[in-house]
Each structure stands twice: as C-alpha cells, then as structure tokens.
Symmetry: C2
C-alpha cells in the first residue's frame, strides 16, 4: 500500500488521486455537478454545486475510507479496522468495511446526531460511545486496536484518506470543463483538512489558476488563522458551533503543508449564516444539507468572496442531520 | 405555433418533444439522472432517479410552461397570460413569463402551500386567491382572460404543455442509455396526465419495450381506474390527500388517448406510503420532495411493482413544500 506523494515533498500528488479514483470506480457515486438558476441569478455568476450529500453514506467521507480499506491485506481485513469520528467518517468507514467484508469498531461521541450513530450501526459496525468531556477517543480507539490487532483509520491525516477525498475534486474539475465552465474559484468546507488537501491537489493540477478557499465555522477557524499566521494554531477550548462535523482542533500535520502550498485563503461563517444556507438549500435547491455541509454555500450567500461575474464551485459535503434538529435550524433561520 | 401531433391521431408526437427540447435549451435545467446505492441494494435492482425537484421553479412544470409561452407572438406577450393551479404550474408559468418579460395572472386556491403562493408572487405574477369550496377557478381565470385579452395556459390539456413536460422523458431515456442502463420500466406521478403523456411519447419512441405506469394518490386514482375501464372516469367528490399537486378530477381529453395508447397500467399509493417516501428521500437520498412529487418513489418502496432484477426509472416531480408541513409529515412517517 503506497501513496506516491508529490515531487515537492507533500504527502500526496495528482497520481495518488487518479489511483484512488480507479479503486473507487463502481463503489463511490460519481455525484453530478448541478446548477440552480435562482442561485446563479442571485449572485450574478455561476455557482457549480457538487452535492456530496448524495454520496454513498450521505457524505464525501466514503471516498477516503474505501480508498484506505480496500488496500488492506487479507490478514488486516480479518482483524478489521477501528476509527473515531463525530459521525461522517464513522459512516464512511462502516460502509466501506461492510462492502469489503471486514469488522469495524467506531468510537463516537455520545452526543453525536442520532442519525449518524444509527446509520453507523446499520452498516454493521461495533459502535462505542464516549463522553467528549471526560474521555479520550484516541485512547479508547488505541485500546481496541491493541486488543484486536485492528488497523486504525484516521479521519484526515493519512495520505490514502486525503487521496480518496480528492477524487471529488477530480470529478468536479472535469465535470466543470465538460460543461464549458472551468473552475475559477472553489470553496471547500474544512475540519482537519483532508478533503480540501485532496481536492486542492486534484484541482490545482487541472486548473492551475483556480483560487481555492477553505470555509470554517466561527470558533473553529483554525485553518484560516493558521494560513494567515504561517503555522498551525488551535481553536480556543470551549467554542461551540452547530457544525458538529467541523470541530477538529487544528489542521493536520500532513494536510497543512498542502494547504499552505495550494490554498488562497480561509473563509469563516457564523452559525446564523450556516442556518440560512441550510434553509436556502431546503427552499430553493431542494437538497438536505447538514450544518457542516453547508459552510461553502453559506460563504457564497453571505458574500465572503466576490462571486459576481465568476464561476465558483462549492461542495455540499454531507447531509446527515436529524429531522428534528433540521426543522429547528431552518425554522429559526432568517429568510435567506 | 404548431404541435405536429402523431401519425395515429394523438395530440403530440416525438418530433414535438424534440422541438420543445430545442426551445428549452439554456432555460430549463437538464436535471441529472442519479442513483443511490442504499435504494438499489434495498430493492435488488437499479432505480434511476430523475430529480425534477431540482428543475427551475422546483418542479417539472417550468418545461411545459416555457414551451407554451415562448411561442406566443408579440401582441400576445404584451397582453400576457393567465393560468390556474394549485401551485407548481403557477410557479412554472410565472417563472417563464418573467424570463420572457410578459405579465402573468395566476388563480390559486387560498389553502395552497404558502411557499407555492410566495414563490409565484416572487416571480412577479399577479396572484388571485380563491376559495376551492365556493368559487370556480376556471370562471375567475376566464374573466381575467376576457378583461385583459390574456392567453390562458392550461395545466395539462394542451399539446405544447405536454410536449414541454415530455422533454424530461427525452433526457431521462438518453441519460439512462448513456450509463448503459436503458429504461425497462418507468413510474410517473400523475394528476391531469400531461407529464406522463409527454414522457410516454418520448420514452416509448426511444425504448419501445419500456413499460410505463402512472402513480396516483388513493382517492385520486382516476387514471388507474380510467385505464382499467377503458374510459375517462372521475374521482369521488370529497376525497382528501396530502398530495396537494395531484388532485385533478379526471384525465384530460387530449392526454387520455395517449395514456391508453402507451401506458401499461396505473399504480395507487396511500398518504402513509407517500409520507414514508418523503422521509426516505430526506434521510437517505438527501432530497427535498413534496408529497405529490414522491408518489413514484412511494410506489417503488411499497412494492407496487416488481423492481428486483430490473432497471426502473422514477421522477421526483417537485419539491415545493412548506417547512412546517414537511417536518410534520416526515416526523409522522414510520421508519421507511
């Protein structure tokens, strides 16, 4: 199992993403690239939407998980895998493990969205809940790994995970070219930064002039601040956000050098802007987007970058949200 | 303005749909054809989903409306159009009129979903609300037409409307071929039957062996009963359904001969099956579907036809639903 890396010392290169796309063929959904006339008219430009909420398991995370798991050897497959996650990586790993016929143990916070916990269990994974305030998920996961000889599957700081997530960018850039609208700028939601590292690697190879921005919730804008300051910084403890999927404390060790090399900057959105974007997705786009999946759309709708006259791509990264919190969030949102 | 009709005396033929597709190019959204691994695994076959809830105005209705309106001459455009509709045809006509710069008056029931009324107004239409139990919408509309010299735009019994709606079928059949999964059977939601008449005309031309079924809500299954009995019958007065978009009393005069010539039968679904389908669309497909838009999916999920081992296409015909009724309906649905 190898990831080639890049000539300039980064953890992955374009050929790793092409190889991942080959492995994912027939297993991941090639999500469409869609446009909405109302949104285009509203911003006075073209917004290309890559709806990864339509991906297998309801989020892009399946791409990276499958790319990692399908490269394990027979002995490793028998021992299985272990991962920790607030929910989307959990479902991605569980879904991939089920397809590959291997056991999976997943450590999840007990206050994760119910839908994410149930779906992970429905894929056959052994779910271990923990208390986010009193226990360490890494310790629990490492304990399981030792006990079972299981391989740990990190959520972002792993070349195979990054390369798998990057296949969404490979598809996006090619789909945009195919409709005669090459990507000029791209906004990608970010937690630990695996997705945006993979996507930037793919897109900058195909569209070297594209400007790529991260989008993060206020209070969890560690990447925006790390990019601005030139070194990895952490979020202040105790911050809260409705974006349960985007609460990683700091950019990854392997992902951050890629961010530094390829990104044009980091955008930050408030919970209120995220709620408005979710309501807009419901009312106009007719798509179900979870809070963490809506930060790119929120950045567009709240004018965080200039979109008039440009072709801007966004990812809707996931749609795994409990019906009752969904209803509460969009009911509370001001008219978008 | 001409619709050629078919050699065997039906109101439209394949060439009318090709001509409509030409007119709609660049104005209607070419909605993608999507698949969901969870759904395919559940039924043991392939379900090809054409999400017309992603269409301009949130429903397929824009296709027919634009095809009709863009063929009006200058004098007619100045006088404008008038239509009556429970909401999706209203929005389709209003959106098309706005793009073409002509006035539109729309007669809508006062108990139509708020979102449908607001959207129709937001497209600039003059909305006239009426009481479904005490007033005749046709009379009100005809009065406006006389007063203004406006052209009436019927919701389904018009060759140009049917041909426009049929473009969804043209796209669907070609998209299915392109992924190597030609349509074997197809389920289309039905009210007055314009959509299914247009789609059947397109699909049976390209896939003569495809079996096409209507789907209707219980109590409004006039087409299923008309097909079975060989003549147009009406629904019993006083029936209710959550499918506000599918309450036409009887198949159309022009649509029914096409239904008789091309359909394989009619399926009926209950409100509970529709609610389960809407919940499934939310939880698994991550798509917002209104009650009337979910009847095809409901027919698949409740096993109304054999889908195991087959390639079955469905349309999600619309997604215009108020957030509060949406929340109520999916909260009340049994686990799908």
């Amino acid at each position: 199992m190898t990831a080639g890396g890049s000539a300039d010392g980064l953890a992955i290169g374009f050929q790793d993403i092409e190889a991942a796309a080959e492995r994912l063929r027939g297993w991941a959904v090639e999500t469409p690239l869609i446009e909405n006339p109302h949104l285009n008219e509203r911003v006075g430009g073209r917004i290309l939407i890559k709806p990864e909420n339509l991906q297998r398991s309801g989020a892009f995370k399946f791409r990276g998980a499958y790319n990692r798991l399908c490269q394990l050897d027979e002995a490793q497959r028998r021992a299985g895998v272990v991962a920790w996650s607030s929910g989307n990586h959990a479902q991605g790993v569980a879904a991939a493990a089920k397809l590959l016929g291997m056991p999976a143990a997943i450590v999840m916070p007990q206050d994760a969205p119910r839908l994410k916990i149930e779906n992970t269990r429905n894929y056959g994974a052994d779910v271990r809940l923990y208390d986010r305030w009193r226990e360490s998920r890494e310790e629990i996961a490492m304990g399981i790994a030792r006990e079972r000889g299981a391989v740990t599957v990190p959520p972002y700081d792993d070349p195979h995970i990054m390369a798998g997530q990057g296949t969404a960018g490979l598809e996006l850039a090619r789909q945009a070219r195919a409709i005669g609208a090459p990507v000029e700028q791209l906004i990608v939601g970010c937690s630990g930064g695996g997705l945006i590292a993979g996507i930037a690697t793919a897109v900058k190879h195909l569209e070297p002039d594209a400007r790529i921005y991260s989008a993060e919730p206020a209070g969890f804008d560690d990447l925006a601040r790390s990019l601005a300051g030139g070194e990895r910084v952490s979020n202040a403890p105790g911050a809260t956000s409705i974006c349960d999927a985007l609460m990683a404390p700091t950019p990854g060790q392997l992902t951050f050098p890629i961010h530094q090399a390829l990104l044009s900057g980091g955008l930050t959105v408030t919970d209120e802007e995220v709620a408005q974007a979710m309501a807009y997705a419901f009312l106009v786009l007719k798509l179900v987007v979870e809070p963490g999946g809506a930060v790119g759309l929120a950045a567009v709708l709240s004018g965080k970058i200039q979109t008039a006259g440009h072709t801007t791509a966004i990812l809707l990264t996931g749609g795994n949200v409990d019906p009752d919190s969904f209803g509460r969030i969009i009911a509370g949102a001001a008219a978008p």
